[in-house]
């Protein structure tokens, strides 16, 4: 019953295509002419040794960084440059490597912020929380409660997230990203710094999200076991270049990948 099988025959539709993207800061090239695609409904892993440009790649996809060359096509729209909130508007949500939550706010409020783009009522009403704004707030609250239920975090609903242990913070951050009902969910090392039990919980949530909501997921992860278990396809970056792309098994046996991980000089 694994999540993987159900997607083998999923539609072969490309959700996001990255073509020839090059990104440099000053003279340093972080990403060199990288191309790959993400198919609708799959779990796509991006792996590579430290400094391979993985997080930079996510930042390009989500609009934090603007590549010097190359283009990105998301849901058929091609663009070279966009801002993060535009990416969010188009349906891309993300989590961060070092949890970027609103620490002073409760779990509930944090996840509610994820609904920002789904709120349509005129800002004026929100100044006073009257009329349609009140109604809308309640509807979104219900949606958020479903996420809280889904992630099994009812007991920390009202707790300021700054006080939560790391593993739970990661879960809240996932909840906030889910609240936007994204088409593409970017997870930057969702399991970093977790113990075995927490990793298993998180893996289960990632699979369930993919399985139940059909959300396409791109994730960066260091734990090879997790990557091999979760992902349908893997793209491997090293020193900003793509060195392999394929199913977990293909990638695992690829000589370039083995060399990169063992630190063989290029």
């Amino acid at each position: 019953m694994s999540a993987l099988e159900t997607f083998v025959d999923a539609a072969d539709e490309t959700l996001l295509a990255v073509e020839g993207v090059t990104l440099s800061f000053g003279g340093v090239q972080a990403i060199k002419d990288v191309s790959f695609d993400i198919k609708k409904g799959e779990i796509r892993a991006i792996i590579g040794p430290n400094g391979a440009g993985k997080t930079s790649m996510l930042n390009v996809i989500n609009g934090f960084y603007h590549p010097q060359k190359g283009k990105i096509t998301f849901k058929g729209n091609t663009r070279t440059d966009m801002r993060p909130h535009v990416a969010a508007t188009q349906g891309i949500s993300r989590t961060f490597q070092n949890v970027a939550l609103f620490r002073g706010m409760s779990t509930l409020d944090n996840i509610m912020t994820g609904r920002t783009l789904k709120m349509t009522t005129n800002l004026f009403w929100h100044l006073f929380r009257f009329g349609p704004a009140e109604q809308e707030e309640l509807e979104h609250r219900e949606f958020v409660e479903r996420i809280i239920d889904f992630l099994e975090i009812q007991h920390i609903r009202k707790t300021p997230v700054g006080r939560l242990p790391y593993g739970l913070q990661k879960r809240v951050e996932l909840g906030r990203a889910l609240a936007a009902q994204p088409d593409l969910l970017l997870l930057d090392e969702p399991m970093a710094g977790m113990n075995l039990e927490e990793k298993e919980d998180m893996s289960r949530f990632v699979i369930d999200v993919n399985d139940q909501f059909g959300t396409t997921i791109a994730l960066i992860e260091h734990d090879m076991g997790v990557v091999m278990d979760l992902s349908n396809r893997v793209v491997v970056l090293d020193h900003g270049e793509k060195i392999a792309d394929g199913t977990p098994d293909e990638v695992k046996s690829n000589q370039d990948v083995i060399d990169a991980y063992l630190g063989v000089a290029h």
Partner: protein, 659 residues
């Protein structure tokens, strides 16, 4: 009591009581569940509607009288309804501990001969499917929560609401009359439920309780504390435990009070506070945990707040219980106590969710007298009862106004209690179980021909007519020189310290008493943070010299207390160690109801115990295999230090003679 037990016609089974309640308490709340942050309520008439639809649906799926229906999951309304639905068809509900691994669960299902399982969620469905690979008799599986189950294509797997839909369809075709006939056929002597005891030794045994057993127990308990349909309780203990069954099902059906199902096991304290439970039931561990949390929070509080807290707790300790018991107390103390209630006691009670509790019980294991007094001194009417699965819970209860911390109360009306020559407690009542399912030998060993049941506990009845339990009959031991050695008594004293989570005392047939201690990670971790003690793991913290020093202080305190009581003065702890891992149910070291499996632990940590009784050794290397939640195995290893204690001088020589 005789008139009470001759039950009014039409009220002698739970399905019949449901029909009554649906009329008598039609619009009163019967059960609630917190879902998506909101309390959902079902009235008794709505419950009837739900149960009827589900029962008729089950019937359509082929469930019939005599079938066994396994129930697995956290406390949820639908699982409670399943109990009544099964009973209405003459089938027998078998609640199973929801955190048992597949292997444990398989034993129960196979032994009971279950053909149907109604479970909470995907996790449990997966377990049942795994069991079904080797135990093929399970034809029907019904689940409550559909998350993750949408893509399952398995024969005999149904959603709860789909079964109810089948039932509703059949009801419109005239199935209702048949259902009512089935209920009318129900007899007091019918099996109401089979509860598998978790058992500290050997395989679980299935305790068969009849309608008469459980209903009698419910009725007696409700009358004893004058419970009405206005009570609010919270159902959070395992449904497979007799306490929950009587308390959240039988007693609720008997007098119509409302049972509240928490949102998740982690939210119980908050949920209890929101509901304002009036009738509470919890094993000592729950009360201990609440104290630990409070003490830890107070140690982090500002100094002035802590001073105030300490002052008023000392006051409560001095006069609180007297006030609760209605004994005379000076005016100044009364005024101060009222002030303390405003500043300290009421906020604490509110935090615990116990502000509105009229009667609270603790049972399952002996509660530390200090813990017990703590709650009573705050003005919470906490009482002890002594019960067993085989008795449908109730054997003795503490009546209001006769609360002694060291006894478990007097026998309820209709219950006889006696102590045999070996010191074992025996009892007889209309609540006494019918038999152990498919285990005539065990039934014969436990229940005599004339209905007396061996409790397995050692105790005596004091001159006030109250029962005093010392320990498990087989656990009370003697040192080599014949000195009495009551392990639980010693362990409970240790466990009152917030820093100590679990303790195992060893001494039977030995030269002296030694002890293994588990520190409480919450309490000690918070202490470590305040004192800049750096640690990376439980093991590292447990072995820290400062932690040892702290535990040594606690052990010395216990020894001082033991020294003050002549009968146990010889059982002072002479050597102790702090275990390098937490005792864990997944490793089989404690039961699912969190009791230490003594013999297993003694076997598993034999090298440590040998070292404890070898005075030349001051540390011991050990490697312990551990099981992670997913069933994988690993190992923890390291050196464990052993500390020597100097016994306290025995105070007062002839106290017993003087009494």
């Amino acid at each position: 009591m005789a008139t009470e037990t001759a039950q009014a016609a039409g009220e002698d089974t739970f399905p019949k009581l449901l029909l009554r309640n649906a009329v008598k308490f039609a619009d009163r709340p019967a059960i609630r569940e917190k879902d998506l942050g909101i309390w959902q309520t079902w009235t008794w008439s709505q419950v009837l509607d739900e149960v009827r639809a589900f029962a008729v649906g089950l019937s359509a799926l082929g469930i019939k009288a005599g079938d066994k229906v396994a129930i697995v999951g956290d406390n949820r309304p639908r699982l409670y309804w399943t109990m009544c639905a099964a009973q209405s068809l003459g089938a027998v509900p078998i609640p199973v501990y929801q955190d048992s691994v597949a292997e444990e669960m398989k034993f129960v299902l196979e032994h009971a001969g279950a053909t149907c399982a109604v479970v909470e969620n995907q996790e449990q469905v997966d377990k049942i499917l795994e069991i079904r690979e080797s135990y093929k008799a399970i034809k029907t599986i019904v689940y409550d929560e559909d998350r993750g189950l949408k893509n399952y294509n398995v024969k005999g797997l149904y959603a709860f609401e789909d079964v109810q839909a089948k039932g509703r369809a059949a009801l419109s075709d005239g199935a209702e009359a048949i259902w009512h006939e089935q209920i009318a056929r129900g007899q007091p002597a019918d099996t109401a439920i089979i509860l598998y005891t978790s058992g500290t030794t050997g395989k679980p045994k299935g305790v068969v309780l009849t309608m008469e057993n459980t209903l009698w127990a419910a009725r007696v308990a409700n009358r004893f504390d004058n419970l009405t349909e206005n009570e609010e309780t919270i159902a959070y203990l395992p449904m497979a435990w007799v306490g929950d069954h009587i308390f959240s099902y039988a007693q609720s059906y008997e007098c119509g009070y409302c049972v509240n199902c928490p949102e998740s096991p982690e939210t119980v304290v908050d949920d209890r506070r929101e509901i304002g439970t009036t009738y509470a039931f919890a094993p000592p561990r729950v009360y201990e945990n609440l104290i630990t949390l409070t003490m830890v929070r107070m140690e982090d509080a500002a100094r002035i707040k802590r001073k105030m807290f300490d002052y008023f707790l000392a006051l409560a300790n001095r006069v609180g219980e007297k006030i609760l018991n209605g004994e005379p107390v000076g005016v100044t103390d009364r005024l101060l106590y009222a002030l303390g209630d405003f500043l300290v006691y009421a906020p604490i009670k509110n935090r615990f969710g116990l502000s509105k509790v009229r009667v609270g019980y603790t049972a399952g294991e002996a509660i530390g007298p200090e813990i017990f007094r703590f709650y009573r001194s705050l003005g919470i009417n906490l009482k002890q009862l002594y019960g067993q699965t085989e008795a449908a819970v109730y054997i003795t209860n503490q009546p209001d106004g006769e609360i002694y911390a060291d006894t478990v109360g007097a026998p309820l009306e209709g219950i006889e209690v006696k102590v045999d020559d070996s010191g074992e407690v025996l009892y007889r009542s209309p609540g006494v179980f019918k038999e152990y399912y498919k285990n005539a030998k065990a039934t014969r060993e436990t229940k005599t021909k004339d209905g007396w049941v061996h409790s397995g506990d050692a105790g005596f009845i004091d001159d006030r007519g109250h029962l005093k339990i010392i320990d498990r009959a087989k656990d009370v031991g003697h040192l080599k020189d014949g000195t009495l050695f009551p392990p639980k008594y010693i362990e409970n004293k240790l466990k009152f310290f917030p820093n100590i989570k679990e303790a195992v005392a060893i001494g039977d047939g030995r030269d002296y008493v030694a002890c293994m201690v588990n520190i409480d990670l919450t309490a000690v971790g918070s202490w470590a943070e305040r004192n800049n003690v750096v640690y990376a793991s439980y093991q590292e913290l447990a072995a820290h010299p400062d932690v040892y020093k702290m535990v040594e202080g606690h052990v010395a305190e216990v020894n001082r207390e033991l020294a003050a009581e002549e009968r146990v003065a010889g059982a002072q702890i002479q050597r102790f160690l702090v275990l390098h891992k937490e005792l864990d149910a997944d490793d089989g070291e404690i039961t699912r109801t969190a009791k230490v499996r003594r013999s297993f632990v003694e076997e598993r940590y034999k090298p440590l115990i040998d070292a404890l009784f070898n005075r030349r050794k001051s540390s011991q290397h050990i490697k312990t295999e551990v099981t992670f939640e997913d069933g994988r195995k690993g190992a923890i290893e390291g050196d464990v230090e052993i500390r020597d204690m100097t016994p306290m001088p025995v105070a007062g020589t002839n106290r017993i003679a003087a009494e």
